[in-house]
Every structure is written in structure tokens, then in C-alpha cells.
């Protein structure tokens, strides 16, 4: 269906793709695997006509093509679902799907016939979408189905899916794999970009691994293991099991009682949450996203007012304290939303590293900033946390997501900590950074810090936590010891809120 031969693409200062070749057969799922910045997106953006290769050829159905823009690619039957959806939230599903390709009757939109076409597509591929629903009201998984239908509506035979599972819950991922298989069963060919090894092994027919812009290996799903793929991706042996000693929990540090918190719309999403995290243990909170994780974390850290109940830290009631007061108590917070809360994109690395302690005596005397001390501290943290940057005065926005996260982690994990609240600490990061951040969290635990870990990645919860609680509809559905926990048991709790599997 698609042959990419010897593609090279350079951007100022970096060769994003270096002599990359790839073939995609009909009805096959071809996984493109690589760390962030390995050149996966650059490659598919060229296939989709968004960039032009410097060298090399692209052939579709044996015919060489030169795309001027994505319109040409769509005309050749190539469809792409971006990691960030290209949907208009205030439009209905049907309106979004026909956008740019409107079905008209005279001067008017022919929404009825569009609806019929959408319904038939949806039925054929098992993509349940309601054409009349407003996109902004849909869940992320549903929006993704809309994107898929949109591509199919334009008669795409070759579908490029850019990190499609990054935004999905475990259950949605399974549904999604079902859809993908029904698509290939009916002759569609798929390029699937990911850096999640488990998924690759679950769905791929063939696998191409990219590292630093070059193809470093190809494999079939049968011949590959998670270990072999990870080693290829990172270029060295990757340790999967996080080495950690038995926890030695001490006194309770963080405790909530009947905590209730409302979200931005005023709906109570944390509905009576009780937990006790002790010094020197990692308490993992698993759960399908949207069960109150965000509000819970924000309320504990003082960023969101509580609607009831209490929060205690180090024996003091800290309910509705300001973020600063809680922070000064020795409670660090790695926020879920990196770009919204974690960093100021326009600031330098140094300024971001002191974002929550710029006012300390060390960095500010009589109200005047001590840039020398700030830069020295930043230099030290950058080295200690292995942030890859030309210098501490580089604007943080120029760093990769993984390095930005390392900056946040460096800022939060230093100082005299008593408790640490981490939300989705490794979302969107590559294997190397994940390994690093996990090691740092365990180190803190071993120093006696109480850690509350919230993550949508079950693997992360399982490998880091000492105890695991499942958050279901704003309260703890159950708590298990990590040593005894199984994916199945946790999955059941996440989906139904009960380990018996009955509603």
C-alpha cells in the first residue's frame, strides 16, 4: 500500500529523519515505535503531506507521490488521527465529520444524507458515534472515534494514528484495539505510532523502531519481547522492574477524612474520600480518569477549595490552606498538567526551577532577586536530575516534554520534604525519563517521605506503590497491598467500584 524509501528530513540544527524506509502492506498494522523526539511524527507528517522530505521517495499503491499539502494525501486515501484532536467542540459530530468535505444540496448542507453515511460507517466498523451529539460533550474516547469516522468518511484506506492510546483509559484502549482490528479485517492499513511496548505487542503485525531519526530495527510481533523492543528504542539495556526494597512505613503523614471536592462546573467529583498515607510508603491511586483524581490532588495541595471533610498533614489540619502554606510545610506537588501548572513556558529553566521558592532567603534578599544564587542552584539541579539542555538560561519551552518534566521533578523533589503528591508523573514521557523519575520517587520513599501517587497507568501504579487504592466515583472503592494486587482485580475495581464485579 505504502512504501517510504530513504527519507531524510532535516530541521535547523537537527536531522529528524535520516534515510528512513518503511513499507505498509494492505490489512496490516505497522507500529512505529520510538522515544519522544525519535522522528516518528516527522515521518508520518511527511506521509500525510504536512512536511516535504529533503530526500527519498514516498509511493502509494506503487505510484510515486509528491504531496503539496495534506489535501493531496487525503485525495490518495490517507487519513490521519492526530494526538491532539482537530475537532470543533461546539459543532455536532456530523458537522465535524463533514467539515471541509460538506455534503450539500444546492446551497444548503445535506445533514440527513451525511448522517446516513456516518451511521453506515459506524455500523460497518463498530464505531459507535451519535451524529447529533455535540463534540464538546463527548468523552475523549468518543472524540477519537469521531476522528476515525472523519477519516473513513473521506475514504481513507491508509490510516495514520499518532499516539492514539495516550489519552484513553485502559477500558477504552481495549475497545479501541477492537476497532483497529475490525478496520484491518476489512482491508484498511494502519500506521500506529506509540511508545507503549505492551500495546505494540498486542496489536502490531510488524514493528519499526526509530531512534534519533534512524531505523534501528524491524521486527514482527511474534519475534519481539518488551525487553528487546525497549533496548532497541533506548539503545541500552532497560531495567523494567523498579528495584525497591520493602517499605518501612512510619507515622501517618497525610490523612483525609470524608473529603469532598467540586469540579469547575460545581459538580462534586470527590465524594467522601478517606485515606492515610504514612511516612516511607507510596500509596498509589488507580482509577479511570475523571473519577475525581484531579480535584482530589488539587484540594489536598490547596489549589482548590474543599466542599467538605478535612485534610490533615503532619498532625495539623490543613484543609483549605493556601498552596504556599502547604508547600512550606514540606509537601511537594508534581502537577498533572505540565504546561498549565508545572511551568511558565516563557521563563528560563532557572526561573522555573525556583518557581515556588523564588522568595526564599537564599534567592531573594530584601525583595531583590539574587540571580547568582538562582543560577547556581539551577545548575546544580540540572546536573543532578540529568536535564538535557544547553544551559540554565534556555527558555523551558525549547526542551522536550521529558526534560520539562525533569525540571518540574527537580524542583519539587528537592528540599526538606515530608510528603509528595505526584499526579501522572510520566505521562507522555519516553522509557529513559520514566525510569529516571521512578527511581527518584523510590529514593524519596526510602528517605521517609510519604508519597501519594495518582496515575492512569496501571503499570506505573503496580510497579511503584506499596499500597494501592482504587478511586471510583470520587471515593476509595478498595485498598489492596501492592504485593497481592493483580491487574485483573484492579481493573474490575476501576470499572465497577467493587471486586465482586457486580454493580
Amino acid at each position: 500500500m505504502l512504501e517510504v524509501e530513504g527519507i531524510t528530513k532535516a530541521f535547523p540544527g537537527v536531522v529528524a529523519n535520516d534515510d528512513v524506509s518503511l513499507t505498509l502492506n494492505q490489512g496490516e498494522i505497522h507500529c512505529l515505535l520510538g522515544e519522544n523526539g525519535a522522528g516518528k511524527s516527522t515521518l508520518v507528517n511527511m506521509v500525510f503531506g504536512l512536511y516535504r522530505p529533503d530526500q527519498g521517495t514516498i509511493k502509494v499503491r506503487g505510484e510515486e507521490v509528491h504531496f503539496e499539502d495534506s489535501g493531496d494525501a487525503i485525495a490518495r486515501g490517507i487519513g490521519m488521527v492526530h494526538q491532539h484532536f482537530q475537532l470543533i467542540p461546539v459543532f455536532t459530530v456530523a458537522e465535524n465529520i463533514i467539515l471541509g468535505n460538506e455534503v450539500t444540496k444546492g446551497a444548503f448542507l445535506d445533514l440527513d444524507s451525511a448522517r446516513r453515511q456516518i451511521d453506515s460507517l459506524a455500523e460497518r466498523y463498530g464505531l459507535a458515534v451519535d451524529p447529533d451529539a455535540t463534540v464538546g460533550d463527548l468523552s475523549v474516547g468518543e472524540q477519537q472515534r469521531v476522528e476515525l469516522v472523519k477519516a473513513l468518511f473521506r475514504d481513507a484506506d491508509i490510516l495514520i494514528l499518532d499516539e492514539p492510546t495516550a489519552v484513553l483509559t485502559p477500558g477504552e484502549v481495549d475497545d479501541f484495539f477492537g476497532v483497529v482490528e475490525s478496520l484491518t479485517g476489512q482491508g484498511k492499513s494502519i500506521i500506529f505510532i506509540t511508545h507503549k511496548l505492551r500495546e505494540v505487542l498486542a496489536v502490531a503485525d510488524r514493528i519499526t523502531v526509530l531512534r534519533a531519526g534512524q531505523v534501528v530495527g524491524t521486527a514482527t510481533a511474534e519475534g519481539a519481547t518488551q525487553q528487546s523492543l525497549a533496548n532497541l528504542m533506548v539503545g541500552r539495556d532497560v531495567v523494567f522492574r523498579v528495584d525497591k526494597a520493602e517499605a518501612d512505613p512510619g507515622a501517618p503523614v497525610l490523612r483525609t477524612q470524608d473529603l469532598r471536592v467540586a469540579d469547575d462546573r460545581g459538580v462534586e467529583t470527590v465524594t467522601g474520600f478517606d485515606v492515610e498515607v504514612r511516612a516511607g510508603e507510596i500509596f498509589g491511586i488507580a482509577g479511570v480518569e475523571g473519577n475525581g483524581q484531579r480535584e482530589l490532588v488539587e484540594a489536598i495541595c490547596g489549589m482548590r477549595p474543599t466542599a467538605g471533610g478535612r485534610v490533615e498533614m503532619l498532625g495539623q489540619e490543613t484543609t483549605d490552606w493556601s498552596p504556599r502554606k502547604i508547600n512550606e510545610l514540606g509537601v511537594a506537588h508534581v502537577p498533572e498538567n505540565r504546561s498549565k501548572h508545572g511551568v511558565v513556558a516563557q521563563y528560563t529553566i532557572a526561573d522555573n526551577l525556583v518557581l515556588n521558592r523564588y522568595h526564599h532567603r537564599k534567592f531573594s534578599q530584601r525583595g531583590v532577586r539574587n540571580t547568582g544564587a538562582i543560577n547556581a542552584e539551577a545548575q546544580e539541579l540540572v546536573e543532578q536530575f540529568d536535564v538535557r539542555t544547553p544551559g540554565v538560561d534556555a527558555v523551558i519551552d525549547t526542551l522536550s516534554g521529558g526534560n520539562q518534566q525533569k525540571v518540574i521533578v527537580a524542583r519539587e523533589l528537592t528540599g526538606d520534604l515530608k510528603a509528595l503528591v505526584v499526579a501522572q508523573p510520566t505521562r507522555g514521557l519516553d522509557v529513559g525519563s520514566i525510569e529516571f523519575i521512578h527511581r527518584k520517587i523510590i529514593e524519596l520513599r526510602d528517605r521517609g517521605v510519604a508519597v501519594l501517587l495518582v496515575s492512569a497507568e496501571l503499570d506505573e501504579i503496580l510497579s511503584l506503590s506499596d499500597r494501592i487504592g482504587v478511586l471510583y466515583r470520587g471515593r476509595l472503592a478498595g485498598t489492596v497491598n501492592a504485593a497481592d494486587a493483580t491487574r485483573e482485580e484492579l481493573g474490575l475495581l476501576m470499572a465497577t467500584g467493587s471486586s465482586e464485579g457486580q454493580r
Partner: protein
Amino acid sequence: MNGARNANAGVGRAASQIHRVLTEAWRLQPLYVSLYAILLSFVVGGVLISIIGVNPFTAYWALLRGMVGGGDEIAGSVARSVPFIGSALALAFAFRAGLFNIGAEGQLLAGGITAAYVGALSWMSDLPGFVAIPLILIAGTMGGAIWGGIPGVLRTKTGAHEVISTIMLNSLVLFGVRWMVNSRDPVVLRDTESTVPRTDSISDTAVLPELVDSQPVLHVGLFALVGICFVVAFVLKRTTFGFEVGTVGLNPHASHYAGINVNRVIVASMAASGAFAGLAAASEISGTNGFFQPGTFFLMGFDGIAIALLARTNPVAIIAAALLWGSMLSGAPLMQQEADVSIDVVRIIQAMVLLFVAADAIVRYLFRVRELDQSPFKATSIEGAM
């Protein structure tokens, strides 16, 4: 097509090289855009002047001489520019905190009326100048700060956008002071012996010393306002409070997360902004007028918006931009006299300067407001290459 792309990339690289050199050389990064805007406005203005049948070079020569043609002209131009520094700072400071303060017009009036009231208090004449002068300046500054702080409080308590509330407060104070100064029954602040509506004259002890007896008078207020610009530059660049202001302006969510009291910063920034306008008004009352008339500050606040944007909200660049602005207004009468080109042409050129600068700055500003309103479902553009 590929060739064209590469050529574009080449030009882009060359341009970014030039840009980098300019940045290194001037350390005032985006200011050169403003210089282009000024140049362009004078060119278009010249075309306008030739359309009405006057040689634009004759007109501009007269304008230039009116601006800087001699000692008196220069002093007059500088004197005319001084209050603009304050009204421009009023926009610039709030802008750094992510706020769009277009209420300098009202904050000038609030500061001016307060200064005139305090300056005319009967016991002021018993005080020595070194007490009375600071007192009248502080009074005006406080008046402006309070009037500027109100929209800040409204923003934090009710979410009312400062653009709307400052416009409303402009009208409120304008009609308020007009009534206070006009009304004979009851007499509020009107000087009943004067035929024109104005307040009582301030005490002689509260008058700022004169530097040059130009038209208008150049007085010591110049040092106060120029000094404030450097203080503001220092505060924004080097102090902890300035860091908080900048952080809130760039990312209020991250500021809240990092423990900055965002509401406090918003109110403080708005009050500080109003204070700069209030100081400018007080220095005019004390150094130039000696009493308060509502018309004195007409359009001065709105001109401040243009000046601040022209200076890209850089406090030191504001001094230069205000000087340009004030001296153009000061030189215009000579152009009218000698070349028979209306003073309004200068106003048109100034409007075009604002247009060329703001078409960029305002659009970007509004764009940033949009970005803060992050909807989780917002369709985002295609991610970058890497």
C-alpha cells in the same frame, strides 16, 4: 516549489540572524518594530499632506523646528511629554501582570482632583515646601492608586474584566469631577470667584519648582516621572515582586500552583498602575496648572495606551516614546502656522503609529487571553516537528 521552500528557509535564516544581531546590540528586543511603525506613519502622513497640496518636507521641517528648534521649543516639548510617561506606565505595569488597564484617563482625573483638593487645603500654606510638595504628590498618587485598585478588586472578587470596569470607571470619575468642579449649588470644589469652572488654586508651598519658563512650563516633575520609569524597570526585572507580577502575567495557573497569591498581585498591579497615572496628574497640578480643570487631562490616558504599546511596555523605552509623542503635539502649532497644515495631521500620524504597532500587539494580547481560557476539547494545531 521545493526550491521556493528552501529559499524561504534561507531568507528566514538570514532574517533571524539579523534579528539576533539587533537583539544582542540593543537588548531591547521588539522595539525596532516600533521604529518601523513610526517611519511608516510619517511616510503615510507625508502622502496625506501632499494630497492637500502642501510640500510634506516643508511641513515636516516646520514640525521638527516646533519640536526641537531651540531651547524653549525643546523645554516645551519635554514639559508636554512628562505626564504621558505616567499614563503610559499605567498601562505598561498592569500589562506585565496580564491585565489591560485602559483606565488611565480616569485614574489621572482621580489623582488630579485629589491632588488639587489636598493642595488647596488651608493649612498647606503653613507647611514648608519640602513637606507640602511630597504631600500633594502622594495625595495624587493615592487617588490614582485607589481608582486603579477598584477594577483589580472587582476582577478578583467578581471576575469582572478590567477592560470593561476601567471604561466604566473612566465615565464615572469624569462626570463626577465635572460636577464637583462645575456645581455652584452646592459648591463642592469650585472656585466661586473664577469665571471658568476650576478648583481653588493650590497653596504656593505646594508648587513644584520650575526648571525652564517654557510653554508649557518645564518643572521638577520631570525627574519624578523619569525616575519612576527606572524604578519600575528595576522592580520588574530584579525584584521578587516583579517576578510575581511577570509570572502571573504569563501563567496565572502556574502562579497559583507555585504559591503566588494571584489575587493580591492583580490588585497590587492595578493599584500601582493607577498610582503612576495619579502621580503624573499630581505633578501637572502642582507644577503646571496650580488648580484642577477636567479638560486638562483630556485624552492623556488614551495617549498613554498608544505610548506604552509603542514602547512595547518597556518602562525605559516609555521615556523615549512619551518624548516623541509630547514633542509632536508641542511642535504641531508651528507646522500649522508656517505650512498651513492642521494640527490634526499630527493626531492622524499618531493614530497611525498606534495602528501599526497595535495591529500586532493588541491582536497578540487578545490571542493570549484566549489561550488562558483553555478548554480541554479545544482543537489544537498540529504539533511541532519533534
